[in-house]
């Protein structure tokens, strides 16, 4: 078995020491620091991006809050305005209603007065007619001429019985 032949043991150990030492030193000093730098650079970049993303998110949230605040404010203002308008309208309506009521009342009272007046007139007319009819009737039946005053007195006394 060639592995157990000590002829080249020293040679193999020597070159192993040379090459492995070279490899170790080269990787330690040159290759690995390069990869470490790249990985660190990448990690830093990722961290940086993450933090800026976080910052942006915070800013977005702030803006959203501001927008919400403004929306709420606008809502409150609108509600206030609507309330004010409703109140003003209600006042206006009640004013107009009351003036209408007054008008109506006046008209009603005027109408009542007129009705009363016309009723009185009618009653007077009726009285006059009754007096005339009674005068005529009594004159035709009895040839007695009654004065208007006498007739009026009689009618006044029996007035309540006509109804």
């Amino acid at each position: 078995m060639p592995q157990l032949n000590p002829e080249f043991f020293v040679s193999q150990l020597f070159w192993l020491a040379v090459f492995f030492t070279f490899l170790f030193v080269f990787l330690w000093r040159v290759s690995l620091p390069r990869i470490t730098t790249v990985l660190e650079k990448r990690q830093n970049k990722i961290d940086e991006n993450l933090s800026s993303a976080k910052e942006l998110q915070e800013r977005a949230m702030e803006i959203e809050k501001k927008i919400n605040d403004q929306i709420n404010k606008a809502k409150l203002e609108t509600d206030e305005k609507i309330k004010e308008t409703i109140n003003a309208l209600q006042e206006d309506v009640s004013l107009q209603l009351s003036s209408l009521d007054k008008d109506l009342e006046k008209k009603v009272s005027d109408a009542e007065k007129e009705i009363l007046k016309s009723k009185d007139d009618q009653i007077k007319n009726i009285n006059n007619e009754i007096v005339n009819i009674t005068k005529l009737t009594v004159g035709k039946i009895t040839d007695i001429e009654l004065s208007d005053n006498e007739l009026n007195k009689v009618i006044e006394t029996h007035k309540g019985n006509f109804n």
């Binding site: 080249f8 150990l13 020597f14 490899l23 990787l27 690995l32 390069r34 990869i35 790249v38």
Partner: protein
């Protein structure tokens, strides 16, 4: 079977250029060449793919980063925060064994991890390093590592020697595991390759198909053994910090 057809012939070391230093033969051999290729592949790949240092990685850069994160994760899972200092070493060890195994999968390439002397040297570095680390961290208390708490006192004369032996056999188990896996896999491939040639007519396609499947398995083992080597190193480092 003639020596030139032996399935073990692939493990023979051929000097490319003979060098001698202080009376020792340190010839540059096919094994050294495979190590050179391995080191070149690792250093060039890890350097060139990360050359642009771009935040959004190219596919090749992503591979480098994945290997980096794989070992970093392995180390932080097993050792924790203390492990960061040993990252370059564990990473080098993993890459060296992994690419060494992979280079060995190329036909006609030499597999230096199939030589016990190489794997043992790597395991010994880990073992000695971890032992020194244990003494630095705990001083003389490091010996309590062999004392298992919560065991009846009369068991200790039995358990302490077992613990010591198991500790001392760590470099052997670590090195033999890698060496034996590589040796067995490559030998098996070579044996079946011999069948392809020696079987009559077209029946040679069967061992050939087996070789194809076995090559896939060997690539898996190449990765697995590198992973095992790295994770055991991590566990040993962890032991040096947390005795029990």
């Amino acid at each position: 079977m003639a020596a030139k057809d032996s399935p073990l012939k692939q493990f023979e070391i051929d000097p490319i250029s003979n060098i001698e230093l202080g009376g020792y033969n340190i010839s540059f051999t096919n094994s050294s060449f495979a190590m050179l290729i391995t080191v070149l592949v690792i250093t060039l790949f890890l350097t060139l793919t990360v050359n642009t240092r771009s935040i959004i990685p190219s596919r090749m850069q992503l591979i480098s980063e994945l290997i980096y994160n794989f070992i970093a994760q392995l180390l932080s899972d097993t050792v924790g925060d203390n492990g960061k200092r040993y990252f370059p070493f564990v990473f080098s060890l993993f890459m060296f064994v992994l690419i060494g195994n992979m280079v060995g999968m190329i036909p006609y390439q030499f597999t230096f991890t199939s030589h016990i002397i190489v794997t043992f040297a790597l395991a010994a570095v880990v073992f000695i390093g971890v032992t020194i680390l244990g003494f630095i961290n705990h001083g003389i208390k490091f010996f309590t590592f062999f004392y298992i708490p919560g065991v009846p006192f009369y068991m200790h004369p039995l358990l302490i020697p077992i613990e010591v032996i198991s500790y001392l056999s760590r470099p052997i188990s670590l090195s033999v595991r890698l060496f034996a896996n590589m040796l067995a896999g490559h030998t098996l491939l070579k044996v079946f390759a011999g069948f392809v040639v020696s079987m009559p007519f077209f029946t040679g396609v069967f061992p050939l198909a087996f070789i194809v499947a076995l090559t896939g398995l060997e690539i898996l083992i190449a990765f697995l053994q590198a992973y095992v080597f790295a994770i055991l190193t991590c566990l040993y480092i962890n032991d040096a910090y947390h005795l029990h």
